[in-house]
Amino acid sequence: MPDIGDDIFFASILELNQRLRAKEFSAVELTRAFCDRLEKLGARYNALALSLRERAMRQAKEVDGDLSRERYRGPLQGIPFGAKDLLSVAGEITTWGAKPFAAQVFDYDATVLTKLAKTGAILTGKLAMVQLAGGGGYRYPAASMFGAGLNPWDRTRWSGGSSSGAGSAVAAGLVPYALGSETSGSILTPSAYCGVTGLRPTYGLVSRHGAMPLSWTMDKIGPMCRTAEDCGVVLRTIAGKDDNDPATAGKSFYFSPQFAREMKTIRVGFAPVDFNDWAEPATRPVFQQALDAFKSLGVTLVETKLPLFPYSAVTRTVISTEGSSVFEDLIESGRVDQLADKKQIAGLRAGLEIPARDYLKAMRIRRLMQQEFRRMMTSVDVLIAPTRHNVASKLTEPLDGPPSMPLTPNRDPGFTPLIGASNLVGYPALSLPCGLVDGLPVAIQLVSRPFTENLILSMGMAYQKTTNHHRARPKV
């Protein structure tokens, strides 16, 4: 077997595919190299839930057979990837990160995995996650049967959640890309903290069939990759209607960077207070540079205000009510007590007590949010803000502690509620690494109207053409 070198572990999907087709290495060699690395280093970050080496090697042999007969199935063919352990793989354990489900096995594959398999993509492992994707609300990063997600940039810090293993595994070069899921922040947060590029698609663009539900009206599945271009390549494959998921919108995604809008025609809404005030002081110069970089690309920056709504109360009410309904049997049976975080247990129990009138009121307010967001987005095409206003937190820091700068009634919130708000209205978002602060990654997010992923992806690609932040690697 030829030595295929360490650089492959940090190559993009498109780079790997080119080298595969140029026969620099075979799919079997590539897959073996990634399986070895995932198994060797996965535990170092609490990132690996389950290695799928045997299955992966079988698939890789099939891909090599196809390639030898010049049967090309696109850029994902022969490229390994990992999937958050809330996606079912037939016959394999799917834990949802939670002890009560430690032996759970489904007899079917999640739709997204079936779609990827058809293109020759090779699933090498299931990746760790916060238990039940954080349903109920957790206090500590250790709220997982796999332990806290450890950040490859500093293992005393959290990788972010709930797609913690996906963030760590992509950042540490254990997989070229991964599938994560987001209800409210679970792709964007680990992408930001681990320094990878993460795309949360429009609600309804990607099937959730075979994925653990947490909130039927908010759950999304999306890619976490090295580049915005890779995110587009993966989204093109996993998007589309699925009769098994009644929420799918019946739309496909045609990745078309060749038809990208000219940057000078794009109006980008931002809130100066995010960059000057809400961002932790040490991060401000980096976020300002990112804003300046987009300005240099030619976009027009427009000061914008989010419509005023009780975003936090609506987000909590919707996710708690739906999540506790999903896990009603777990809660009522008492097995919920096996979870690793006591606050989460209490949160799941309390969710069953939320009155129907509160849930309905939250869903009615959501309707108004959609209307106001549509109105706001007639004057701008994209919103930009720090993905998180800080670097990854220490593992021992409680996640529900007081914010470093408390909210006060007269203080302009800027876009600080953007993650919750954009999830509530179902808009897509792209998180782009934009630099390091004290050796830890920070990221900027772009949010656009439903089903306009091409717009934010093309902006991400333009940004990544002129910067190298997405190429930064932790010392693994």
């Binding site: 806290a148 009206t217 109360a313 975080d341 247990i345 309390a350 959501r366 021992t396």
Partner: protein, 69 residues
């Protein structure tokens, strides 16, 4: 230098990972008893409820979920 184990992970690596994970687990378990936490979470639910009820919504506003038969 730490000697690698069979799987290539050094004892030092394992030690750091286990210490970090167990410290966080211990911290998580050292929280107040579940009853207190449940009370605190119920208070949060109540606050959310009050916030939602104080927010005026036009009578004709339908909830934002969609059901397609």
């Amino acid at each position: 230098m730490s000697k690698p184990l069979a799987n290539g992970v050094t004892r030092r690596d394992l030690g750091i990972a286990l210490a970090a994970a167990s410290a966080a687990v211990v911290a998580a378990q050292e929280t107040a008893p579940t009853e207190d936490l449940l009370g605190a979470v119920r208070e949060q639910v109540k606050t959310n409820s009050q916030t939602l009820r104080a927010f005026e919504v036009p009578t004709a506003t339908e909830p934002s979920f969609a059901f397609r038969p």
